[in-house]
Symmetry: C2
Subunit: 193 residues, 2 copies
Amino acid sequence: MDDKHFLLNIFSQENFTAQELETIILKFKKVVFSKNSFLLSEGKVANNYWFVESGFIRSFVQDTEGRNISTNFYSTGDIAIDWPSFFLRNPTRENMQALTDCVCWQLDFDTFQTLFHSITAFREQGRTTLVGSYFALKNHSISVIADPAKARYQQLLQKKPHIIQNVSLKHIATYLGITDTSLSRIRKEVAKE
Amino acid sequence: MDDKHFLLNIFSQENFTAQELETIILKFKKVVFSKNSFLLSEGKVANNYWFVESGFIRSFVQDTEGRNISTNFYSTGDIAIDWPSFFLRNPTRENMQALTDCVCWQLDFDTFQTLFHSITAFREQGRTTLVGSYFALKNHSISVIADPAKARYQQLLQKKPHIIQNVSLKHIATYLGITDTSLSRIRKEVAKE
DNA sequence: AAATCAACTTGCCATAGGACAAGAAATGAA
DNA sequence: TTCATTTCTTGTCCTATGGCAAGTTGATTT
Protein backbone atom coordinates (compact mmCIF):
# COMPACT_ATOMS: atom_id res chain seq x y z
CA MET A 1 0.00 0.00 0.00
CA ASP A 2 1.55 3.31 -1.05
CA ASP A 3 0.28 6.72 -0.10
CA LYS A 4 2.29 8.85 -2.48
CA HIS A 5 0.57 11.74 -4.16
CA PHE A 6 -1.72 10.63 -6.99
CA LEU A 7 -0.07 13.01 -9.45
CA LEU A 8 3.23 11.18 -9.07
CA ASN A 9 1.60 8.54 -11.26
CA ILE A 10 1.24 11.21 -13.93
CA PHE A 11 4.50 13.09 -13.51
CA SER A 12 7.19 10.51 -12.95
CA GLN A 13 10.43 10.81 -11.05
CA GLU A 14 12.23 9.71 -14.19
CA ASN A 15 11.28 12.76 -16.19
CA PHE A 16 11.23 15.50 -13.58
CA THR A 17 13.53 16.69 -10.82
CA ALA A 18 12.20 16.64 -7.25
CA GLN A 19 12.14 20.41 -7.39
CA GLU A 20 10.08 20.45 -10.59
CA LEU A 21 7.68 17.87 -9.25
CA GLU A 22 6.99 19.93 -6.20
CA THR A 23 6.45 23.07 -8.28
CA ILE A 24 4.08 21.25 -10.59
CA ILE A 25 2.09 19.30 -8.07
CA LEU A 26 1.46 22.27 -5.83
CA LYS A 27 -0.24 24.03 -8.73
CA PHE A 28 -2.92 21.37 -9.08
CA LYS A 29 -6.10 21.71 -7.10
CA LYS A 30 -8.08 18.72 -5.92
CA VAL A 31 -11.71 18.96 -6.96
CA VAL A 32 -14.64 16.62 -6.53
CA PHE A 33 -17.53 16.27 -8.96
CA SER A 34 -20.73 14.57 -8.00
CA LYS A 35 -22.55 12.22 -10.32
CA ASN A 36 -24.23 13.97 -13.28
CA SER A 37 -22.54 17.33 -12.69
CA PHE A 38 -20.91 19.08 -15.64
CA LEU A 39 -17.21 19.85 -15.80
CA LEU A 40 -17.67 21.76 -19.03
CA SER A 41 -20.63 22.72 -21.14
CA GLU A 42 -21.27 23.78 -24.69
CA GLY A 43 -20.64 27.44 -25.42
CA LYS A 44 -18.12 27.95 -22.59
CA VAL A 45 -14.38 28.35 -23.00
CA ALA A 46 -12.56 25.49 -21.30
CA ASN A 47 -10.33 27.16 -18.75
CA ASN A 48 -9.30 24.00 -16.90
CA TYR A 49 -8.33 20.45 -17.43
CA TRP A 50 -8.29 17.54 -15.03
CA PHE A 51 -6.41 14.39 -14.26
CA VAL A 52 -8.90 11.81 -13.07
CA GLU A 53 -8.04 10.05 -9.84
CA SER A 54 -11.30 8.14 -9.58
CA GLY A 55 -14.70 7.97 -11.27
CA PHE A 56 -15.96 8.08 -14.84
CA ILE A 57 -16.55 11.04 -17.10
CA ARG A 58 -18.14 11.26 -20.52
CA SER A 59 -17.71 13.98 -23.12
CA PHE A 60 -20.31 14.44 -25.83
CA VAL A 61 -21.61 16.82 -28.48
CA GLN A 62 -25.10 17.49 -29.77
CA ASP A 63 -25.55 16.79 -33.46
CA THR A 64 -27.79 18.79 -35.78
CA GLU A 65 -30.75 16.51 -35.07
CA GLY A 66 -30.41 17.10 -31.35
CA ARG A 67 -29.13 13.61 -30.62
CA ASN A 68 -26.09 13.47 -28.44
CA ILE A 69 -22.92 11.67 -29.42
CA SER A 70 -20.26 10.49 -26.99
CA THR A 71 -16.83 11.68 -28.02
CA ASN A 72 -14.79 10.18 -25.20
CA PHE A 73 -14.71 8.58 -21.78
CA TYR A 74 -12.25 9.36 -19.01
CA SER A 75 -11.33 7.36 -15.96
CA THR A 76 -8.46 6.86 -13.51
CA GLY A 77 -5.18 8.19 -14.89
CA ASP A 78 -6.75 9.90 -17.90
CA ILE A 79 -6.54 13.56 -18.75
CA ALA A 80 -9.98 15.07 -19.21
CA ILE A 81 -9.51 18.02 -21.50
CA ASP A 82 -11.04 19.69 -24.47
CA TRP A 83 -7.81 20.47 -26.32
CA PRO A 84 -9.15 22.91 -28.90
CA SER A 85 -11.14 25.02 -26.47
CA PHE A 86 -8.41 25.03 -23.83
CA PHE A 87 -5.64 26.10 -26.19
CA LEU A 88 -7.45 28.13 -28.81
CA ARG A 89 -9.58 29.84 -26.17
CA ASN A 90 -12.72 29.28 -28.17
CA PRO A 91 -16.21 28.42 -26.98
CA THR A 92 -16.53 24.66 -27.06
CA ARG A 93 -19.06 22.42 -28.72
CA GLU A 94 -18.40 19.72 -26.13
CA ASN A 95 -19.97 18.82 -22.83
CA MET A 96 -18.17 16.92 -20.11
CA GLN A 97 -20.29 15.23 -17.52
CA ALA A 98 -19.45 13.06 -14.52
CA LEU A 99 -21.05 9.62 -14.87
CA THR A 100 -20.18 8.81 -11.28
CA ASP A 101 -18.81 10.80 -8.36
CA CYS A 102 -15.27 11.78 -9.33
CA VAL A 103 -12.05 12.95 -7.73
CA CYS A 104 -9.91 15.04 -10.06
CA TRP A 105 -6.83 17.24 -10.07
CA GLN A 106 -7.42 20.52 -11.82
CA LEU A 107 -5.14 23.00 -13.59
CA ASP A 108 -6.17 26.28 -15.18
CA PHE A 109 -4.89 27.79 -18.41
CA ASP A 110 -2.72 30.56 -17.00
CA THR A 111 -0.98 28.25 -14.59
CA PHE A 112 -0.50 25.77 -17.41
CA GLN A 113 1.15 28.43 -19.54
CA THR A 114 3.59 29.29 -16.77
CA LEU A 115 4.62 25.67 -16.35
CA PHE A 116 4.68 25.04 -20.10
CA HIS A 117 7.08 27.85 -20.86
CA SER A 118 9.29 27.40 -17.80
CA ILE A 119 9.76 23.64 -17.45
CA THR A 120 11.14 21.80 -20.47
CA ALA A 121 10.01 18.35 -19.34
CA PHE A 122 6.50 19.63 -18.65
CA ARG A 123 6.43 21.02 -22.16
CA GLU A 124 7.59 17.75 -23.67
CA GLN A 125 5.15 15.71 -21.66
CA GLY A 126 2.29 18.04 -22.55
CA ARG A 127 3.08 17.76 -26.22
CA THR A 128 3.35 13.99 -25.98
CA THR A 129 0.00 13.76 -24.24
CA LEU A 130 -1.67 15.91 -26.87
CA VAL A 131 -0.15 13.91 -29.70
CA GLY A 132 -1.24 10.72 -27.97
CA SER A 133 -4.81 12.03 -27.91
CA TYR A 134 -4.53 12.94 -31.56
CA PHE A 135 -3.35 9.43 -32.36
CA ALA A 136 -6.20 7.80 -30.45
CA LEU A 137 -8.71 10.05 -32.15
CA LYS A 138 -7.30 9.27 -35.57
CA ASN A 139 -7.45 5.54 -34.98
CA HIS A 140 -11.01 5.81 -33.80
CA SER A 141 -11.91 7.93 -36.78
CA ILE A 142 -10.40 5.46 -39.24
CA SER A 143 -12.07 2.58 -37.46
CA VAL A 144 -15.49 4.16 -37.87
CA ILE A 145 -14.87 4.29 -41.62
CA ALA A 146 -13.04 1.01 -42.14
CA ASP A 147 -14.37 -1.46 -39.58
CA PRO A 148 -17.85 -2.91 -39.17
CA ALA A 149 -19.66 -2.03 -35.95
CA LYS A 150 -19.02 -5.41 -34.39
CA ALA A 151 -15.27 -5.09 -34.79
CA ARG A 152 -15.33 -1.62 -33.26
CA TYR A 153 -17.17 -2.99 -30.25
CA GLN A 154 -14.72 -5.84 -29.86
CA GLN A 155 -11.77 -3.48 -30.06
CA LEU A 156 -13.22 -1.30 -27.35
CA LEU A 157 -13.98 -4.35 -25.27
CA GLN A 158 -10.39 -5.45 -25.55
CA LYS A 159 -8.68 -2.08 -25.12
CA LYS A 160 -10.96 -0.49 -22.53
CA PRO A 161 -13.01 -3.15 -20.77
CA HIS A 162 -13.58 -0.79 -17.83
CA ILE A 163 -15.57 1.48 -20.15
CA ILE A 164 -17.83 -1.36 -21.27
CA GLN A 165 -18.33 -2.35 -17.66
CA ASN A 166 -19.09 1.08 -16.27
CA VAL A 167 -20.79 3.08 -18.97
CA SER A 168 -24.35 2.61 -20.13
CA LEU A 169 -24.98 0.92 -23.43
CA LYS A 170 -26.54 3.95 -25.08
CA HIS A 171 -23.49 6.12 -24.37
CA ILE A 172 -21.14 3.49 -25.72
CA ALA A 173 -23.32 3.07 -28.80
CA THR A 174 -23.03 6.68 -29.91
CA TYR A 175 -19.28 6.58 -29.30
CA LEU A 176 -19.10 3.60 -31.66
CA GLY A 177 -21.29 5.39 -34.18
CA ILE A 178 -24.31 3.10 -33.94
CA THR A 179 -27.68 3.06 -32.15
CA ASP A 180 -28.29 1.45 -28.80
CA THR A 181 -30.55 -1.08 -30.55
CA SER A 182 -27.74 -2.22 -32.81
CA LEU A 183 -25.25 -2.37 -29.99
CA SER A 184 -27.61 -4.51 -27.97
CA ARG A 185 -27.77 -6.97 -30.86
CA ILE A 186 -24.04 -6.94 -31.45
CA ARG A 187 -23.37 -7.54 -27.79
CA LYS A 188 -25.74 -10.50 -27.83
CA GLU A 189 -23.94 -11.99 -30.82
CA VAL A 190 -20.50 -11.48 -29.32
CA ALA A 191 -21.64 -12.98 -26.03
CA LYS A 192 -22.59 -16.31 -27.56
CA GLU A 193 -19.25 -16.81 -29.34
CA MET B 1 3.00 41.10 -57.31
CA ASP B 2 5.11 40.32 -54.28
CA ASP B 3 8.20 38.15 -54.21
CA LYS B 4 8.63 37.74 -50.46
CA HIS B 5 9.64 34.36 -49.15
CA PHE B 6 6.79 31.86 -49.19
CA LEU B 7 7.31 31.01 -45.52
CA LEU B 8 6.47 34.57 -44.54
CA ASN B 9 2.89 33.54 -45.22
CA ILE B 10 3.28 30.90 -42.55
CA PHE B 11 5.37 32.78 -39.98
CA SER B 12 3.99 36.28 -39.83
CA GLN B 13 5.74 39.51 -38.94
CA GLU B 14 3.15 40.05 -36.25
CA ASN B 15 4.19 37.07 -34.20
CA PHE B 16 7.93 36.92 -34.75
CA THR B 17 10.82 39.38 -34.66
CA ALA B 18 12.84 39.90 -37.83
CA GLN B 19 15.68 38.09 -36.15
CA GLU B 20 13.52 35.09 -35.30
CA LEU B 21 12.08 34.96 -38.78
CA GLU B 22 15.49 34.81 -40.31
CA THR B 23 16.59 32.08 -37.92
CA ILE B 24 13.51 30.03 -38.65
CA ILE B 25 13.31 30.47 -42.39
CA LEU B 26 16.95 29.60 -42.97
CA LYS B 27 16.33 26.24 -41.33
CA PHE B 28 13.76 25.18 -43.90
CA LYS B 29 14.89 23.42 -47.02
CA LYS B 30 13.06 23.72 -50.31
CA VAL B 31 12.21 20.31 -51.76
CA VAL B 32 10.34 19.26 -54.85
CA PHE B 33 8.25 16.11 -55.19
CA SER B 34 7.17 14.79 -58.53
CA LYS B 35 3.71 13.43 -59.14
CA ASN B 36 3.08 10.06 -57.46
CA SER B 37 6.24 10.13 -55.36
CA PHE B 38 5.97 9.32 -51.65
CA LEU B 39 6.87 11.80 -48.93
CA LEU B 40 6.32 9.15 -46.26
CA SER B 41 5.44 5.50 -46.29
CA GLU B 42 4.02 2.98 -43.88
CA GLY B 43 6.52 1.52 -41.43
CA LYS B 44 8.91 4.48 -41.53
CA VAL B 45 9.39 7.04 -38.78
CA ALA B 46 8.40 10.50 -40.01
CA ASN B 47 11.52 12.58 -39.60
CA ASN B 48 10.30 15.62 -41.53
CA TYR B 49 7.30 17.75 -42.13
CA TRP B 50 6.52 20.13 -44.96
CA PHE B 51 4.73 23.36 -45.67
CA VAL B 52 3.19 23.09 -49.09
CA GLU B 53 3.90 25.96 -51.46
CA SER B 54 2.20 24.37 -54.45
CA GLY B 55 0.67 21.07 -55.51
CA PHE B 56 -1.59 18.49 -53.90
CA ILE B 57 -0.72 15.71 -51.48
CA ARG B 58 -2.84 12.89 -50.11
CA SER B 59 -2.27 10.88 -46.96
CA PHE B 60 -3.86 7.46 -46.57
CA VAL B 61 -3.78 4.22 -44.61
CA GLN B 62 -4.43 0.63 -45.59
CA ASP B 63 -7.30 -0.99 -43.76
CA THR B 64 -7.40 -4.64 -42.73
CA GLU B 65 -9.06 -5.64 -46.03
CA GLY B 66 -6.28 -4.01 -48.00
CA ARG B 67 -8.42 -1.12 -49.20
CA ASN B 68 -6.86 2.25 -48.82
CA ILE B 69 -8.52 5.12 -47.03
CA SER B 70 -7.66 8.78 -47.50
CA THR B 71 -6.97 10.47 -44.18
CA ASN B 72 -6.20 13.96 -45.44
CA PHE B 73 -5.34 16.24 -48.33
CA TYR B 74 -2.76 18.99 -48.30
CA SER B 75 -2.34 21.94 -50.61
CA THR B 76 -0.91 25.46 -50.67
CA GLY B 77 -0.35 26.83 -47.18
CA ASP B 78 -1.04 23.53 -45.42
CA ILE B 79 1.32 21.68 -43.15
CA ALA B 80 1.83 18.11 -44.31
CA ILE B 81 2.78 16.16 -41.23
CA ASP B 82 2.08 12.91 -39.49
CA TRP B 83 1.90 14.28 -35.95
CA PRO B 84 2.08 11.02 -34.03
CA SER B 85 5.00 9.56 -35.93
CA PHE B 86 6.92 12.83 -35.99
CA PHE B 87 6.61 13.49 -32.26
CA LEU B 88 6.40 10.04 -30.78
CA ARG B 89 9.12 8.74 -33.07
CA ASN B 90 7.11 5.66 -33.94
CA PRO B 91 6.78 3.86 -37.26
CA THR B 92 3.77 5.27 -39.02
CA ARG B 93 0.73 3.59 -40.45
CA GLU B 94 0.28 6.45 -42.92
CA ASN B 95 1.44 7.06 -46.44
CA MET B 96 1.81 10.50 -47.94
CA GLN B 97 1.86 10.74 -51.69
CA ALA B 98 2.11 13.65 -54.10
CA LEU B 99 -0.96 13.80 -56.33
CA THR B 100 0.71 16.42 -58.52
CA ASP B 101 4.22 17.85 -58.73
CA CYS B 102 4.77 19.74 -55.48
CA VAL B 103 7.00 22.42 -54.06
CA CYS B 104 7.45 22.14 -50.29
CA TRP B 105 9.49 23.56 -47.45
CA GLN B 106 10.91 20.85 -45.24
CA LEU B 107 12.00 20.76 -41.60
CA ASP B 108 13.49 17.78 -39.76
CA PHE B 109 12.82 16.70 -36.19
CA ASP B 110 16.08 17.76 -34.57
CA THR B 111 15.93 21.20 -36.09
CA PHE B 112 12.32 21.47 -35.02
CA GLN B 113 13.27 20.65 -31.45
CA THR B 114 15.89 23.36 -31.39
CA LEU B 115 13.45 25.97 -32.59
CA PHE B 116 10.66 24.67 -30.36
CA HIS B 117 12.65 24.97 -27.18
CA SER B 118 14.41 28.21 -28.02
CA ILE B 119 11.75 30.43 -29.60
CA THR B 120 8.60 31.03 -27.56
CA ALA B 121 6.48 32.18 -30.49
CA PHE B 122 7.51 29.16 -32.56
CA ARG B 123 6.43 26.94 -29.69
CA GLU B 124 3.08 28.68 -29.39
CA GLN B 125 2.45 28.55 -33.10
CA GLY B 126 3.43 24.90 -33.28
CA ARG B 127 1.02 24.04 -30.50
CA THR B 128 -1.73 26.06 -32.12
CA THR B 129 -1.22 24.30 -35.43
CA LEU B 130 -1.33 20.90 -33.79
CA VAL B 131 -4.47 21.75 -31.86
CA GLY B 132 -6.01 23.08 -35.06
CA SER B 133 -5.34 19.73 -36.72
CA TYR B 134 -6.86 17.96 -33.74
CA PHE B 135 -9.95 20.12 -34.01
CA ALA B 136 -10.36 19.45 -37.73
CA LEU B 137 -9.93 15.73 -37.17
CA LYS B 138 -12.48 15.71 -34.39
CA ASN B 139 -15.05 17.52 -36.48
CA HIS B 140 -14.51 15.13 -39.35
CA SER B 141 -14.79 12.18 -37.02
CA ILE B 142 -18.05 13.42 -35.54
CA SER B 143 -19.40 14.19 -38.98
CA VAL B 144 -18.79 10.62 -40.15
CA ILE B 145 -20.91 9.42 -37.23
CA ALA B 146 -23.59 12.09 -37.18
CA ASP B 147 -24.10 13.30 -40.75
CA PRO B 148 -25.34 11.43 -43.80
CA ALA B 149 -22.86 11.03 -46.65
CA LYS B 150 -24.47 13.73 -48.76
CA ALA B 151 -24.08 16.32 -46.01
CA ARG B 152 -20.43 15.37 -45.57
CA TYR B 153 -19.85 15.87 -49.27
CA GLN B 154 -21.56 19.24 -49.25
CA GLN B 155 -19.53 20.38 -46.27
CA LEU B 156 -16.31 19.44 -48.02
CA LEU B 157 -17.49 21.13 -51.18
CA GLN B 158 -18.13 24.29 -49.24
CA LYS B 159 -15.05 24.29 -47.02
CA LYS B 160 -12.48 22.93 -49.44
CA PRO B 161 -13.68 23.28 -53.02
CA HIS B 162 -10.10 23.04 -54.28
CA ILE B 163 -9.97 19.47 -52.99
CA ILE B 164 -13.12 18.51 -54.88
CA GLN B 165 -11.71 20.13 -57.99
CA ASN B 166 -8.28 18.58 -57.89
CA VAL B 167 -8.56 15.18 -56.29
CA SER B 168 -10.03 12.11 -57.92
CA LEU B 169 -13.45 10.98 -56.85
CA LYS B 170 -12.29 7.68 -55.43
CA HIS B 171 -9.82 9.36 -53.08
CA ILE B 172 -12.43 11.82 -51.88
CA ALA B 173 -14.91 8.97 -51.39
CA THR B 174 -12.72 7.07 -48.92
CA TYR B 175 -12.03 10.30 -47.05
CA LEU B 176 -15.78 10.77 -46.69
CA GLY B 177 -16.17 7.16 -45.60
CA ILE B 178 -18.14 5.93 -48.62
CA THR B 179 -17.46 4.11 -51.88
CA ASP B 180 -16.72 5.82 -55.15
CA THR B 181 -20.01 4.47 -56.50
CA SER B 182 -21.99 6.19 -53.77
CA LEU B 183 -20.09 9.43 -54.16
CA SER B 184 -20.77 9.42 -57.87
CA ARG B 185 -24.49 9.16 -57.14
CA ILE B 186 -24.42 11.81 -54.43
CA ARG B 187 -22.55 14.18 -56.69
CA LYS B 188 -25.17 13.66 -59.40
CA GLU B 189 -27.95 14.43 -56.97
CA VAL B 190 -26.25 17.53 -55.62
CA ALA B 191 -25.52 18.76 -59.14
CA LYS B 192 -29.16 18.84 -60.17
CA GLU B 193 -30.28 20.91 -57.16
C1' DA C 1 -45.32 -2.78 -1.85
C1' DA C 2 -46.65 0.17 -5.39
C1' DA C 3 -45.43 3.31 -8.69
C1' DT C 4 -42.22 5.35 -11.59
C1' DC C 5 -38.37 5.59 -14.50
C1' DA C 6 -34.24 4.36 -16.94
C1' DA C 7 -31.75 0.63 -19.15
C1' DC C 8 -31.87 -2.88 -22.14
C1' DT C 9 -33.89 -6.34 -25.40
C1' DT C 10 -36.48 -7.90 -29.26
C1' DG C 11 -39.45 -7.90 -33.40
C1' DC C 12 -40.80 -5.90 -37.76
C1' DC C 13 -40.00 -3.22 -41.52
C1' DA C 14 -37.41 0.63 -43.96
C1' DT C 15 -33.33 2.56 -46.09
C1' DA C 16 -28.63 4.27 -46.88
C1' DG C 17 -25.03 2.69 -48.77
C1' DG C 18 -22.15 -1.53 -50.36
C1' DA C 19 -20.80 -5.23 -53.90
C1' DC C 20 -20.35 -6.33 -58.32
C1' DA C 21 -20.38 -5.75 -63.15
C1' DA C 22 -21.02 -3.36 -67.52
C1' DG C 23 -20.44 0.50 -69.95
C1' DA C 24 -18.71 5.60 -71.06
C1' DA C 25 -15.54 8.95 -70.99
C1' DA C 26 -11.31 10.79 -70.32
C1' DT C 27 -6.41 10.43 -70.04
C1' DG C 28 -2.03 8.72 -71.21
C1' DA C 29 1.30 5.85 -73.80
C1' DA C 30 3.24 3.85 -78.03
C1' DT D 1 -4.17 7.64 -84.07
C1' DT D 2 -4.70 3.69 -81.88
C1' DC D 3 -4.46 1.09 -77.94
C1' DA D 4 -4.56 0.71 -73.02
C1' DT D 5 -5.51 2.37 -68.56
C1' DT D 6 -7.80 4.85 -65.31
C1' DT D 7 -11.80 7.42 -63.91
C1' DC D 8 -16.39 7.87 -63.53
C1' DT D 9 -21.30 6.50 -64.16
C1' DT D 10 -25.17 3.53 -63.93
C1' DG D 11 -27.93 -0.73 -63.19
C1' DT D 12 -29.31 -4.63 -60.22
C1' DC D 13 -29.38 -6.69 -56.12
C1' DC D 14 -27.89 -7.20 -51.21
C1' DT D 15 -26.75 -6.22 -46.29
C1' DA D 16 -25.79 -3.74 -42.20
C1' DT D 17 -27.87 -0.73 -39.59
C1' DG D 18 -31.69 2.55 -38.41
C1' DG D 19 -36.54 3.74 -36.80
C1' DC D 20 -40.13 2.65 -34.14
C1' DA D 21 -42.72 0.35 -30.78
C1' DA D 22 -43.66 -3.20 -27.36
C1' DG D 23 -41.94 -5.65 -23.92
C1' DT D 24 -38.52 -6.89 -19.79
C1' DT D 25 -35.82 -6.10 -16.27
C1' DG D 26 -33.88 -3.64 -12.71
C1' DA D 27 -33.23 0.51 -9.93
C1' DT D 28 -35.22 4.48 -7.34
C1' DT D 29 -38.82 7.00 -5.05
C1' DT D 30 -42.88 7.42 -2.23
